[in-house]
Symmetry: C2
């Protein structure tokens, strides 16, 4: 599209039209009885202390598990996990063991003990601070208390290169890989040195 | 990366590691005095009624404007807007008129009167329901009360094709266009007809 100011706008029914959004595989339970639920209603909400929120329908199997335990994992989704990710969003853990179904490997977060997905490029351990009822969904406001990153994401200087994670975004009901690099935060006002150092080639 | 279960994990300092996240240009004020603030701490939080949240640092110019008016706009970011988007995240509206700086066109949301960005592929009018202090940021929980979509996003059948919006995601401090299509919600359990109809070619 040309994004010109001449484009007519059409007012549609109020809807969840924020796009793209994350898509994550949230984990819960313990190492014996674990579940995975795929969520797109998730976001970072605070920088310091680091916090995020997830929203879950009351009737979902994971809802009460997380409400009762007060802990959950957020596992980022790489392209290679997309089929498992989709499946964990449509099937209930009441009926199946989703770890087994997709041969996913559990490991226990060392801070909370919550099960995490080893095949995920990065897993966040989260502790629930507050739950707010909104309507169809409950909002779980949580502290991020530990972050586990795949060794493969680190570059030769020891910095994390998230491009290596091949992450997926959710866009109006569809999954997309991240594509063209467009710039870094602050690039529009950066000096030549910073631009030379931090602008990537596609 | 290969996403194998053998990848060693490195535990790093707790941080805002959820990726990718949205990046939006939030608008506030009125048609006379407007501001734009770019936010990545934003997310959908409820389906019905449709709700989203944004988080803003207390010291940001837009924070008090939105707190006092109780309304804001969320304008999705297309590739063509990325420079303006980045700039509106680093510069303060106390010093400059960001609409003027980038020749952006204002239009008033018909439900709230909040100024919106016409060059954005879609703009959401939001009404604040609750503000929660978290630490560095305040969380604004809001109802989505109107959605304005560019006519160009509609396909010949009248359905919205978000691919035409060329949206941008934020990934660990960098902006990326959406790339390869990977599937639609439910594709992992869909029948042949649905797959034939809804799987896109890249």
């Amino acid at each position: 599209m040309n994004n010109s100011a001449n484009d007519a706008k059409v007012s549609i029914k109020p809807s969840t039209f924020l796009n793209p959004v994350p898509v994550v595989m949230a984990t819960c339970g313990d190492m014996e009885k674990s579940n995975i639920i795929t969520l797109a209603w998730a976001g970072t909400i605070n920088s310091e202390p680091p916090m995020l929120s997830i929203s879950i329908r009351k009737e979902r199997f994971s809802h009460d598990i997380i409400q009762n335990s007060g802990i959950f994992g957020v596992n980022l989704v790489a392209k290679s996990l997309i089929k498992a990710c989709d499946y964990c969003g449509v099937k209930s853990g009441r009926d199946i063991d989703k770890f087994k179904e997709f041969n996913l490997t559990k490991f226990a977060g060392e801070t909370t003990g919550v099960p995490l997905i080893k095949e995920s490029p990065a897993s966040l351990e989260c502790k629930v601070r507050q739950i707010i009822e909104l309507g169809t969904h409950d909002l779980f406001i949580a502290d991020i208390v530990n972050v586990h990153v795949s060794e493969e994401l680190f570059d030769e200087k020891g910095a994390i290169d998230m491009r290596k994670a091949d992450l997926v975004a959710y866009n109006h009901g569809e999954y997309y890989a991240l594509g063209e690099f467009l710039g870094f935060y602050g690039y529009s006002v950066a000096n030549k040195d910073a631009l030379a150092r931090r602008m990537r080639k596609n």
